[in-house]
């Protein structure tokens, strides 16, 4: 025992240990914030980049247009979000979304694909952490264009409705004809879902868009006007 401890009661020692434990808890929580908002982004961006390159490599190799949904079906470009391209893969499980990609729904309502005659192409991605691919979803306004890029086609969508807050159990937003957006007829829709408000997941934020036109990808993969 050091000399300074002599004369101090057990109570004083207990109080000091308790205080140090509180400080430790605070530091651990601060580290958790750093982990959630920074480190998971580093990991997810690295993974998404790697997988994105793999998809583009596959595309570059001429061959039958076999669609491998496991590796990703294409890239979503949202100029209003200013986050470059987002790889889109199959499924919305945590494992998939934590790779820094957007996933299309398989449950509870199965997503239609952009090349289907009609239906709703429904996507989810993280608002914060793990790539935070839909972080700026609130910057997407009615009239904005979203572009989905596949190997051979650019699908240009126009945003027509936003739902800034809805229940996380509101699965009707994924319907082939999402009535809450105001549409009544079948069409080729795109739905983005993520959590809101930022840093929490109490509610869901929804953006709906409708296919405006498609454009063939040329040999140089020239971007459509909306992305230039």
């Amino acid at each position: 025992m050091a000399r300074t401890d002599r004369g101090r009661g057990r109570l004083a020692v207990a109080v000091s240990v308790f205080g140090e434990l509180l400080i430790t808890a605070g530091v651990v929580m601060a580290l958790f914030v750093v982990y959630s908002l920074w480190w998971t982004n580093v990991l997810a961006d690295r993974e998404a980049k790697r997988q994105g390159h793999a998809v583009r490599n596959t595309w570059a190799q001429k061959g039958p247009g076999a669609l491998d949904t496991k590796d990703g079906i294409g890239f979503l470009h949202v100029p209003a979000m200013k986050n470059g391209e987002v790889l889109v893969k199959s499924g919305t499980s945590t494992d998939v979304l934590n790779e820094g990609v957007a996933g299309f729904y398989r449950t509870p309502v199965k997503a239609a694909m952009p090349w289907d005659k009609q239906g709703n192409f429904t996507l989810a991605a993280h608002r914060d952490g793990h790539g935070a691919k839909f972080h700026n979803i609130d910057k997407v306004k009615t009239g904005d264009r979203l572009v989905f890029e596949t190997r051979d086609v650019w699908y240009v969508y126009k945003v027509f409705a936003e739902l800034k807050e809805t229940s996380k159990y509101n699965v009707e937003v994924l319907d082939p004809v999402p009535k809450e957006s105001g549409v009544t007829k079948p069409g080729r829709y795109l739905t983005l879902t993520t959590c809101t408000p930022v840093y929490t997941s109490d509610y869901r934020y929804i953006v709906w868009a409708e296919l405006e036109r498609t454009e063939k990808v040329d040999a140089d993969r020239t971007k459509p006007a909306e992305l230039r």
Binding site: V28, L31, F32, T94, H126, R127, C195, S201, D202
Partner: protein
């Protein structure tokens, strides 16, 4: 607590500081690599899908 650890580390102040730094880094590594990835799904900050598969289906 930390004072106790400090007094039980070997060497002079510099060596002790170095060992402390290594211990802190090891702790941060364990937290980032194992503890936080385990804790994250248990906390309600990162659910982004509607229905999410965990809730009771409507």
């Amino acid at each position: 607590m930390y004072g106790w650890i400090w007094r039980h580390l070997p060497g002079n102040a510099w060596v002790r500081a170095l060992i402390s730094l290594v211990l802190v880094l090891a702790l941060v590594y364990v937290l980032f690599q194992y503890v936080f990835p385990w804790a994250e799904p248990l906390l309600p900050f990162n659910d982004v899908t509607v229905d999410n598969g965990t809730a009771v289906n409507k």
